[in-house]
Symmetry: C2
Subunit: 429 residues, 2 copies
C-alpha cells in the first residue's frame, strides 16, 4: 500500500539530478520531455494509451512530506538546500498528450511534459510506471476484446498480479472493452461493474454439489452463475438445472477442453429446457484461445492471467526523453537511435472513408492541415493546474472502440505484422 504521497515512487537519480542542477544554475532551463515507444512488443500492431487518468491524479498529489524529506536527508540522497526546495515542490509546468484510449505506434509522442528541467525530470519515473503498466494491459485486453467478437469478457486476473497493479489492470481492461471485473476495489474506485458467484471451494465445502448449488441459489437467486466442473460436468449441469430450474442465468466451466465442453453443455442445457442459460468459460484464456472458441456456443469469456500480465508483453516499452532545452532540439547520439529532437505535434491522417492511413509527427512545427486530419494531443496540465473536463473512463472506452474501427482491418489481426498505421516523423526545418 502506498504510504504518503506518490513522490517517493521515484528513482534515486531523479533527485540527484535535481540537486546538481539546482547547484549549477541549469535547473530552470526550459525543457520538453516526451514519452514515446521506440517499437511495439513483438507481434503487436498497435499500442493503446492507458493510465493517463490515473496519472493526472497522482501528479496532482505529487509532493514530499516531512517524513519523506527526513528519509532523503538521513540517507544523504539530497543536500539541505535541495530538501528545502523539494518541501515546496509543486509541478508548475504543462502536460499535453494523446487522449486515454488513443492508439499509438512507434514514435507517437503520447505525452509531452514541459517546464523547468527539475520539475519535469522529477516526474519521469512515476509517469513511466503508470503508462508502461496500464498501456501494456490495455493493448493485450483490446486484442482479447477483438477476439471475443462482441461476446462478454470478465476480467478475473487479480490474484495473478500485485494487489494494487491488479486494480489498475482492471481499469485498463475495462477501458479496452471488457464488460466487468472480479475486482471489488476497481468497482469502488472506478465504477466498473463487478461480477462473481462461487469458486470450487464452495462446492467442496458442502456435503455434495446439490447442497452447494442450493445454498448459492437461496442467497443469490436464479439469476446467478453455477460453477459446474468441480466433479462431473454433465452431472453438474443436471444438478444445476434441477436446483435452479431452466431460468438459471448461466453455468461456468473452468477446466478441460472448453471447445468440446461448450458444445456438450449447450446440447445438454437445451435438452433440459434451459435454452436461455448462458455458458461462461474460463481457465487460462488469452486472445488466441478466445479466438479459437469463436464457433462454439460460448456466451461469456473469463480472462485472468493473460490480461493482467499483458499476454506476453507486461510493459509497454515507453521511454521519457528530453527532446528540447531552451528551444533547442536535443538528442542522445550514441547507438544512432535515430530519435529526432524537438517538441512534436502529431496528427492522424484518414481517408474519406474514415480509415487511418498515416500519423504525421512534426518537430517544432505543425503538420500541414488536410481534410481528414485529426490532432492527437489534448492538454492535461496548464501552468501546473489540471485541465477541467478531461475525458471520463467511459469516454476513453468509447474513444478506443472508435479508434479500433478506424485502423486498416489487417491491424486487428492477431498474427504478427507491421504497425497498423505508419508514423512519419518530420525533423524541425
Amino acid at each position: 500500500m502506498t504510504k504518503g504521497h506518490p513522490a517517493l515512487l521515484t528513482d534515486h537519480y531523479e533527485l540527484t539530478m535535481v540537486s546538481a542542477a539546482l547547484k549549477d544554475g541549469t535547473a530552470d532551463r526550459r525543457s520538453v520531455f516526451e514519452v514515446f515507444a521506440r517499437r511495439l512488443p513483438p507481434g503487436r500492431r498497435y499500442g493503446v494509451v492507458a493510465g493517463t487518468g490515473r496519472l493526472v491524479d497522482l501528479i496532482r498529489s505529487f509532493r514530499f512530506d516531512r517524513d519523506e524529506l527526513d528519509y532523503l536527508r538521513s540517507r544523504d540522497v539530497v543536500d539541505a538546500a535541495t530538501a528545502e526546495w523539494l518541501a515546496n515542490f509543486r509541478f508548475g509546468g504543462d502536460i499535453e498528450g494523446y487522449a486515454e484510449g488513443e492508439l499509438f505506434f512507434p514514435g507517437s509522442p503520447i505525452l509531452t511534459v514541459s517546464g523547468t528541467f527539475v520539475e519535469c525530470v522529477l516526474l519521469e519515473t512515476l509517469v513511466l510506471s503508470v503508462l508502461n503498466h496500464d498501456s501494456a494491459i490495455a493493448a493485450a485486453a483490446a486484442r482479447m476484446v477483438t477476439a471475443a467478437r462482441g461476446r462478454g469478457l470478465i476480467e478475473m486476473g487479480s490474484r495473478r498480479a500485485h494487489e494494487e497493479a491488479a486494480v489498475a489492470a482492471t481499469r485498463a481492461a475495462y477501458l479496452a472493452g471488457f464488460t466487468s471485473t472480479s475486482n471489488l476495489a476497481a468497482g469502488m474506485r472506478f465504477g466498473i461493474p463487478t461480477a462473481g458467484t462461487a469458486a470450487h471451494a464452495f462446492t467442496l465445502l458442502h456435503d455434495d454439489e446439490e447442497a452447494a448449488f442450493a445454498a448459492q441459489v437461496a442467497t443469490l437467486g436464479r439469476n446467478t452463475t453455477l460453477l459446474v466442473d468441480t466433479y462431473d460436468i454433465a452431472q453438474g449441469i443436471r444438478t444445476a438445472i434441477k436446483v435452479a430450474g431452466p431460468e438459471l442465468r448461466a453455468i461456468r466451466i473452468d477446466s478441460g477442453d472448453l471447445s468440446v465442453l461448450a458444445q456438450h453443455s449447450r446440447e445438454l442445457l437445451d435438452s433440459l429446457g434451459a435454452t436461455e442459460t448462458k455458458i461462461i468459460v474460463s481457465g487460462d484464456l488469452d486472445e488466441y484461445s478466445i479466438a479459437a472458441l469463436a464457433a462454439e456456443p460460448v456466451d461469456i469469456y473469463g480472462a485472468g492471467t493473460s490480461v493482467v500480465t499483458g499476454s506476453g508483453a507486461p510493459t509497454a516499452g515507453l521511454v521519457y526523453k528530453l527532446v528540447e532545452v531552451d528551444g533547442r532540439p536535443v538528442v542522445k547520439r550514441s547507438e544512432h537511435k535515430a530519435t529526432i529532437g524537438g517538441r512534436k505535434t502529431a496528427v492522424r491522417r484518414h481517408k474519406p472513408t474514415g480509415t487511418a492511413i498515416e500519423e504525421i509527427v512534426v518537430s517544432q512545427g505543425t503538420p500541414d492541415s488536410r481534410t481528414g486530419d485529426r490532432r492527437l494531443q489534448i492538454p492535461y496540465f496548464v501552468g501546473g493546474s489540471p485541465v477541467d473536463g478531461l475525458p471520463s473512463l467511459a469516454d476513453s472506452r468509447e474513444h478506443l472502440r472508435q479508434g479500433l474501427i478506424s485502423i486498416p482491418w489487417e491491424g486487428l489481426k492477431l498474427s504478427a505484422g507491421d504497425p497498423a498505421v505508419p508514423v512519419t516523423v518530420v525533423p524541425a526545418s
Copy 2:
C-alpha cells in the same frame, strides 16, 4: 494508491461465498486452504517464496470500513446480514507456511490457512496477489544473482512496472540478493540501499558533456558514477577522468555491445590511470545477458525490465485450494488434477553433505524423521494474531542464499530442466 484497507483488493465471489455460507450454516466449518504451485514456469528449476512479510502486514489490517461496506451494499454484492458480519470481521484463524526466502517446487505447501470457511476464503485473492507477484520477481532475480557470480546488481526497473508493484518488486529482488535499488519508496519502507546518479537527460541539459560531469561531481563528489554513453563513449570516459580524476568511483554504459565496450572501457580507464574506477553496465539485461558478460571486466550490473517483469514469468502460478473440511480431505475431481487433499506437513531431506535431495509432503500426518530433515513450515498467525519474531528481510535474504547453496548444482543452471528437488506427496493413510 491504496484507498482504505486492503480488504477490497478481493474478488467479488469471495464475498458472495461468504454470504451464501453464512445463510446456509456452513460458514463455520473448519477449513484448511493451501497455497501451492502445480508446476514451475517453463524452464525454471525452483521457485522462491517471497511476499510473506508484506502479506502478514496486509492481513493484520484486513478489515472493512464504512465506505467500503456502503459500496458493497449499494451494488448488492452482499446482503445486510453479511455486511454486518463483515463490519466486525477480523481474521481469527491460523497461518503457517514456508519461510520467506525458502525455495519451493511443484506441490510444496508454501502457505496453509486454517479456520472457519468464511474467514479463510476471504483472504484468497489478497494472499495470491501478494505471493504470486513477489515470488515471481524473487525467482527471476535469484537467477540473475547466480548469473552475476558475486558482482553487484542494482535493481532499476521501477519505470517498467506499476508504481506500487515496483516497490514490492524491489523488495523481492533485494531478498533474492540484489545489492541496491533505484526505488526510493522501497528504500524508505524496507531499508533497502538505494543508488542513482544521473540520466542522459542531465548531460543533454548542459551545454556539453564536460559541463554536465562537472556539475555532477561538484554536487556528488568523485565517489559517483558518470554516465559516459550520451555521445561518444571513449570521449565520454576521457572527459569523465579529466573532470573527476582517476579517483572517480565508476562509469556507467547503458547501450551498445556491452561486451566489447566493457573491454575497451577498462583498457582506456587503465591507460588513464583510473585502475580502480568501476564499470557499471545496464540496458535490457536479463539472467542470460548477465551470464554472457561473466568474462568481461564488468563490476556491477543494472537490471530493470527483466527483473520487475519476472523475466518471462510475471506470475508464479500459485493457487489457493480448499484441501480439508472438518477434518475430511477434499479435492476437486474434474480434469484429474491429481491434487491430494488434507493438511500437509513438509520436510526437506538432505544428504550428510547438506545437499537437498527430496521434499516429503505428508497429508494429515508427519513425515518420519531422519537425520538431515528440515521442517519447512513456520507459524505466521495463531488464533488471528501474528506470531512475534518473524524473520526480517535480512534474515530471509540470508535464508535464500543458504537455500541456493543447498540444492544440487544442476538446479542453478539457467537452462531448462526438471525441478532441482523432487517433491513426494504422501496421501493420508
